[in-house]
Amino acid sequence: MRHDVMRDADDTVLARKAAMGDRDAFTVIAHRHGPAMYRFARRIVQDDGDAEDVVQDALVGAWRDLDQFRGAASLRTWLFRLTINRARTALRKRRPAPLGDRTAEPGVSAGTIGIAAAADPAQEAIRERLLAALDAALAGLPERSRIAWILREIDGLSYDEIVAVTGMTRNSIRGHVYRARRTLAQRLATWR
């Protein structure tokens, strides 16, 4: 199958092929970046159905506009930008519900969800509870702090890439990441 042949191709090659109409190449892109896009979207809109819509819209948009993608940013950064734009649109549609003012207690699941298979069921259960606590703590952060922290700490984007995705300034992002770290650590301090 061509997917297997292209599975190891780098993003630039895949984006070029997809821009010329190669759907198999785009499927590999979607398969590679979809999980991170969904993880990101899910924690912005905080709803599985909305997250699915956001990611689907972002990927369809990417497919349609790939011929305009010139590689100035990385493909991943571009996909995150499409995702955040769709997620913000989804949130605007369902305002008012100020996410930043919400608080959640650690240990209360915010919708987390399955865990990658672990060898030890006990370890897996602990991991699942830990992720649920993190999600609950994340849900209590202001939206911008949550976005900045996820892009920096989970997806490993550089500050410049986060600027490109979010439109926030570098200093603002640094501040949000710092405050998010501190708040999350405080909320997870009592987790057992």
């Binding site: 010329m20 369809v60 969800i113 399955g114 991991r127 992720l131 989970i154 710092y178």
Partner: protein
């Protein structure tokens, strides 16, 4: 919930170390738990995505791009082909030429009539470029004739621009074909 000292970020954004049982305003226990949770989330795939993947794939398969119509004809029969279809066909035709990879294809139209093509290609290192460009041009003309029929003949040789913008190391299949 653990109470911690209030700290401010340094100019670089790194938290100041507060000492004691906290670091940068974070309790050590909280910082360690956060680190474990962060590592777990990095490798985590949401169940929601796992179940959404198939539906996403179905939507992508049916998603269409904005397209322009390119006129084709066979004798007196006139028909139209999407410029995306033309580009996909050309990409396949160019990629089938040993040592050549299509990088970008731009289709120029006057109304619905094809008046020019710009192809950016990469050629395998060591390929005689001028001779190879002729082979690519023939492949393009053949492809256009198959897809568009008669109008393809109206695209003169100056209407097909081939730009060799990169070279690449020949793959196994290209080495085998060359030998």
């Amino acid at each position: 919930m653990a109470m911690t000292e209030t700290t401010k970020p340094t100019r670089s954004g790194a938290p100041r170390t507060a000492g004691g049982d906290s670091a940068g305003g974070m309790s050590m226990a909280g910082a360690e738990t956060l680190e474990r949770a962060t590592v777990a989330l990095r490798s985590h795939v949401d169940d929601g995505w796992t179940s959404a993947w198939q539906r996403t794939l179905e939507r992508l398969v049916t998603a269409t791009r904005r397209t322009r119509r390119v006129a084709g004809s066979s004798g007196t029969d006139r028909y139209f082909v999407s410029d995306q279809v033309v580009a996909v066909s050309l990409r396949s035709a160019v990629d089938e030429v040993a040592g050549t990879q299509a990088l970008a294809i731009d289709v120029s139209l006057d109304g619905h009539d094809l008046i020019g093509l710009r192809l950016e290609v990469s050629m395998a290192y060591g390929t005689p470029l001028r001779a190879h460009a002729v082979v690519v041009r023939h492949a393009v003309r053949r492809c256009l004739a198959e897809v568009l029929g008669d109008p393809a003949h109206r695209v003169g040789s100056r209407g097909i621009e081939i730009h060799i913008v990169d070279v690449h190391l020949p793959g196994h299949s290209e080495v085998a074909r060359r030998n």
